[in-house]
């Protein structure tokens, strides 16, 4: 009984005990917070990777093609049976995407992915990452009138109409001025304002006599967002799109772009032959990664970042891609950007572009004219939630051996193994380091306890003179250590868990106080700090801290127990 009472009284009256408790508390809280955030990050990241990559992929090795696709899909379906959730086929091809910014061309190396929008969404997380909410459950390759993410600059049909109307207007006005200059006539300034309507009225737009000053403001005239076309004079810069093959030719020969390969020019001429009205029509839809047309500037003083979009839904871009077959030729394709793909995975957002599978197969010549069968570059397989990933992979590997088929069968973990193992190792090392913090707290307890034992030498003598056995004296100090551990670990767990739950609020408070962004969502994959509280982790951290507290009180407790009562009492 005396053990309990004295442990409790020592705990209550020793200020030094508080220091030990605080060190345990801080160690435990830190460990819990860091662990939760780390595992939250890695959990979110692997989830995202998993979602994007599907479960198992059959990839044609070395950029090759998989033929007789229907046959193989049927084989996969019968092989996996009930484990199968969905199958989709994709074509992946590296391509170059280009567009004009201030009359200057920008090129981006991208991974062009042809997807079957009926099945692709079943197999991978694709639709949730689109910025237009209509696209999340509709035809993804259509430019929409509205529904684009409010945080993005204006996009969609209204933007496209304004843009091309303006472009057409500028072109005609310049032509008129040039005409007048060649005829040595004064340039009349017209009083008629440009109508405010967004309805397409060709007769009015084509009216050459328009007041420049009364031009309606462009939707894209926000300071950070330069428009693609506002200072592109007709003929001077290359027309990004044109109904007229002539303008292409003239653009292709100007200063920044020397004469192109003849074959390319001929192809361009061929591609754009069809009469096309950009104000009412869209070209084939393409969904580009949001990182492709975006410039991100970091303000070093505030720590925030600002985005500039050089390209957005409604704009047209040009793709250069290789054709299929043994001798690839460059192909040109004009597309209309219909949406952004924003998975917040930097590598994917900066590289992926999606277009309809059948269209890509057609332009690359992947359809066998004789049979009508098309080839693909990968078959992606999604399994049922509880299916065994590696077993499925092994079954598929057995069915499509590398010796007979130029196909690699990989799970998403195989594909991302370096990244996943790096993250895992990071977490392990961090845990070791942080556990050392608790070990330091343990040594603090050890030192504190030795001091307390010295201080309590007389009391130990008294207790022994009253008949307390050595084991009882020892258990006072062990109990003391345990209660320090329990109080410290308990408080630490509470603080840690609360910190994890309110981490975003805390981050924003710290941002306000320090004036610097603690967590800039634009940098990371996530809009808020992801956390994952694993109850077993919390229990083992708290238990480990208690164990360390008890272990570090063993030595001082032994010393106290061994103290001869006479020696203890002689001390005055």
């Amino acid at each position: 009984m005396f053990k309990l009472l004295l442990s409790w009284r020592y705990l209550k009256t020793r200020f030094i005990a508080l220091a030990s408790i605080i060190s345990v508390t801080l160690g435990v809280a830190t460990l819990i917070v860091v662990n939760s955030v780390m595992s939250g990050f890695s959990h979110e990241m692997t989830n995202k990777l998993h979602g994007i990559l599907s479960d198992v992929e059959l990839v044609a090795s070395g950029m090759g093609e998989i033929d007789r696709v229907e046959e193989k899909v049927e084989q996969i379906q019968s092989l996996l049976g009930d484990d199968l959730h969905g199958v989709t086929t994709v074509v992946r091809v590296p391509a170059m995407l280009n567009f004009l910014v201030h009359g200057q061309p920008r090129y981006h190396q991208i991974m062009l992915i042809g997807i079957d929008d009926q099945t692709f969404g079943n197999v991978t997380d694709f639709r949730p990452y689109l910025t237009n909410h209509f696209h999340r459950n509709g035809d993804v390759f259509r430019l929409m009138e509205s529904g684009y993410d409010a945080e993005l600059p204006e996009a969609g049909w209204s933007y496209r109409r304004e843009k091309f109307r303006h472009e057409a207007y500028v072109r005609e006005e310049l032509e008129r001025i040039l005409q007048n200059q060649t005829n040595n006539l004064p340039v009349p300034i017209h009083q008629t304002p440009l109508p405010e309507t967004t309805k397409v009225d060709k007769s009015e737009n084509r009216d050459p006599i328009v007041n420049l000053a009364k031009l309606p403001p462009l939707p894209s005239q926000k300071p950070v967002l330069p428009t693609l076309s506002s200072d592109v004079p007709a003929g001077a810069g290359r027309e990004l799109l044109s109904d007229d093959p002539q303008s292409f030719r003239s653009g292709a020969q100007d200063a920044w772009n020397p004469a192109p390969v003849d074959a390319l020019a001929a192809h361009r001429a061929k591609v754009v032959l069809a009469p096309f009205d950009p104000i009412t029509e869209q070209r084939v839809g393409i969904i580009i990664g949001i990182g492709i047309g975006r410039l991100r500037a970091h303000d070093p003083t505030t720590g925030k970042s600002q985005d500039m979009f050089f390209i957005r839904p409604g704009d047209d871009i040009e793709l250069t891609l290789p054709s299929a077959g043994s001798q690839p030729r460059p192909l040109l394709e004009n597309c209309t950007v219909v949406d952004f793909y924003s998975s917040k995975m930097h590598d994917y957002d900066g590289a992926f572009a999606f277009m309809p599978l059948s269209h890509l197969q057609r332009i690359r010549g992947m359809i066998d004219p004789a049979t009508g069968g098309a080839t693909v570059s990968a078959i992606q397989v999604k399994l049922k939630p509880n299916a065994n990933l590696n077993a499925a992979r092994d079954r598929l590997r057995a069915a499509f051996p590398m010796t007979h088929f130029p196909i690699m069968v990989q799970t998403w973990r195989d594909q991302q193994a370096p990244l996943l193992s790096a993250v895992e190792m990071e977490i392990t090392i961090l845990n070791i380091l942080l556990f050392m913090i608790i070990a330091v707290a343990g040594f603090g307890i050890l030192a504190t306890f030795f001091m307390i034992v010295v201080e309590k030498t007389k009391d130990i003598g008294i207790l022994k003179s009253l008949g307390a056995p050595s084991s009882g004296v020892m258990s006072i100090f062990l109990g003391y250590g345990l209660s320090l551990g329990i109080v410290g670990a308990g408080a630490g767990t509470m603080i840690g868990v609360l910190f994890v739950i309110y981490i975003n609020e805390i981050a924003s408070i710290i941002s306000t106080l320090s004036g610097r962004e603690v967590f800039d969502p634009s940098i990371y994959f996530f809009s808020t700090i992801p956390t994952l509280l694993n109850p077993w982790m919390v229990i083992s951290v708290a238990g480990g801290a208690m164990l360390i507290a008890v272990l570090s009180s063993v030595l001082p407790a032994l010393r106290a127990a061994r103290l001869a009562p006479v020696d203890a009492l002689r001390y005055e």
């Binding site: 003598g461 008294i462 207790l463 009253l466 008949g467």
Partner: protein, 274 residues
């Protein structure tokens, strides 16, 4: 105070005669007629040797001490500083073990018992009082008094008997005149009050033997007087055997037996009143 009122009548002349003396014992308090076997030795030791190691040199403290203490007797051990009085008391109280010799308590040899048993004997059969009180500073008066019981009982058995034990302790504290001080900490008490708490603690388990190591050595005359009177009165009630180390001859003169130590040896045993 209660203890003063209880002074026996025939001590009056003694008191008057020694009015200026610091410590007065009116009469030998521990010669109780209630004693069942007054002649039997409750405690005895034979040829006890004890030395301490100082560096490589053993320093002999006790060299062949033998003594006998009968039940309900009041024995004083006197001697100069360093004569080994306290060491002898510690040996008798099983706080330490002799190098040689035997110590018997109640027909049991206690010097070579396993430490667990010695702990038990110390807890149940021996009460100890020290010059410097040795109370636990974190506990209040009542808790300090209850510590021997807390040591004896485990958590549950203590909690089960809590009521009766607390009542016992309170009663004893009332007898020592501290019933108004129950929740005070030792550092809020005077020296006399502390020593009275220590007496209550020593006697709460109703031991047979009380060992006191200069209990008045740190007190002024009046408090010392009170403490001695208390010992006498409570000793009478419990038919206690007392061994007190002191260097005060006047206290020694009041005892049943005086053992004089010099350089670790018994130089004289005077059985004054026996």
């Amino acid at each position: 105070m209660k203890s003063r009122k209880n002074q026996t009548h025939n001590s009056k002349d003694l008191q008057q005669r020694r009015v200026n003396d610091p410590v007065v014992i009116p009469h030998s308090p521990f010669r109780s007629p209630k004693s069942t076997n007054p002649g039997a030795a409750l405690l005895s030791c034979h040829q006890v040797f004890k030395s301490y190691q100082a560096g490589n040199q053993p320093i002999p403290v006790l060299s062949g001490v033998s003594l006998q203490v009968r039940q309900s007797e009041f024995t004083t051990i006197v001697g100069q500083s360093g004569s080994g009085k306290s060491t002898l008391l510690h040996l008798l109280g099983t706080l330490d073990q002799p190098d040689e010799g035997e110590i018997w308590l109640n027909q049991q040899r206690i010097d070579n018992m396993p430490s667990r048993q010695r702990d038990r004997i110390r807890n149940q059969e021996i009460g100890l009082i020290f010059q410097f009180y040795h109370l636990l500073p974190e506990l209040n008066v009542l808790e300090n008094t209850l510590v021997p019981y807390m040591i004896r009982h485990g958590v549950w058995s203590y909690l089960l008997r809590r009521r009766t034990l607390i009542d016992e302790a309170k009663e004893l504290l009332e007898q020592v005149g501290l019933s108004h001080r129950l929740t005070h900490r030792p550092n809020q008490l005077s020296g006399g009050e502390r020593q009275r708490t220590a007496i209550a603690r020593a006697l709460v388990t109703k031991p047979k033997l009380l060992l006191a190591d200069e209990p008045t050595g740190n007190l002024d005359a009046r408090s010392g007087n009170e403490v001695l009177e208390l010992l006498r009165r409570l000793g009478e009630l419990q038919s206690l055997t007392v061994i007190m180390v002191t260097h005060d001859d006047r206290i020694a003169q009041q005892s049943d037996q005086v053992i004089r130590l010099r350089d670790g040896k018994v130089v004289s045993v005077s059985a004054e009143a026996a």
